[in-house]
Amino acid sequence: MSALFELTFVCNHACSFCYNCPSGQREMTTAEICDALRKLAEFNVLYLTLSGGEPLVRKDFFEIGRAARALGFAIRIYTNGYLIDQAMAKKIKQIVNPLEMEISVHGAHPQTHDKLTCVPGSLARLIEGVRHLRAEGIKVNLKCPVTRNNQDEVLAIERLAGELGAHIQFDVVITPRDNGDKDPLALMATDEFLEKYWNDDAYATARKERVPQPRRDAPGEAVCGTGRSGLAIDPYGNIYPCVQLRRKAGNIKELNHLQEMWATSPVLIEVRKTAVDVAQRVLKESAAGDQCTSFCMGVAELQVGDATAMYPQAAKNAEFRKKAHANWEVEQNETAGDAGEVLGKRGA
């Protein structure tokens, strides 16, 4: 069981496609957050991601981190890395000792990364921060949303991650803001790039598979773990099935225990049912649905108003994946054909 806890919506960056939408409510106090952590531990959550906004801007971050560690969570911290100097890296190791740090990177060069974060020097600080974390033996996973502004730097970003001793994860799907604002979608990578990304061998390690493989959903399986194997909590205590599907299931400040809400919430019951329907029917009925490996009900709902609808980014990526898979099958058949021809000649 996992939980993503947005500790604050405050951030020291101003990324142009940020999905966060603060509503002006009072964010939870230290005591409220620690109480929420106790409830999550009692609910048997093992993996806890501390996120934001930028979680490290909270003055009580280490009090929260210490409490989380004492409660036996396997902790991840999702940060922009800007505040991580040598002292902070040591403190993170000593007090929180996370399983890994997840750090957002938007380019291999300052002119790309800093332009998107709107903070001059942010890439240099990020790189320094990663070096300090690695010096403390902390695993770092860099996460890169691919946009038309950084798509030509994907391979350079991959190399940068390698030089820093960090893992890298690319995401080619840009999402609307949590309030439904679709402006960020204008930053989506170009069709020309996406076709190369899914097809060319040069991007095989970036996309983490040599050839795009189709979905293999077992009978009754859901499209993802939303509302089933994980949940998300915002800085006001609202509980959601996941970070992307912003249907409120309850508020952790108002609950003594999570168990009953988890079992009886109409929101969660509906979400689980829909997640199975998407995998077992919607994607199977869609043209390239079998290659739609990252379909997100939350994005579908935000973007087209229907959690089961195929939204443009999903359809596009699925089509390119399907085409790449078909190209590979043709190559395989041609290779097998050539081998047969050679064998035939030898036989003669």
Partner: protein, 88 residues
């Protein structure tokens, strides 16, 4: 390792019990260890105070199992937990 040995759980280990099985994660590794029911019973009792002998007696009081078999299984599991860095 013998019945007078006292083991402690790795303080860095994060774990939860799901339906009688312990899932253990060590921050220094990328591995997730899922321990079966007997191993989880042992894991829960390792507290840096009890000897393996005392843990064995507790297990024998709780489960209807052969002493020699339980002792052999206990040492085998304890050794594997130590080899994986989950206890020390």
């Amino acid at each position: 390792m013998d019945l007078n040995t006292v083991l402690s759980r790795n303080p860095e280990a994060a774990f939860r019990l799901y339906e009688g099985q312990a899932t253990v994660v060590l921050p220094t590794e990328s591995k997730v260890h899922v321990i079966n029911e007997f191993g989880s019973t042992l894991w829960e009792r390792i507290d840096g105070v009890k000897t393996l002998g005392r843990i064995l007696e507790e297990i024998l009081n709780e489960y209807d199992i052969d002493r020699a078999r339980a002792e052999a299984d206990l040492f085998e599991f304890a050794a594997s937990l130590r080899a994986e860095g989950m206890v020390r």
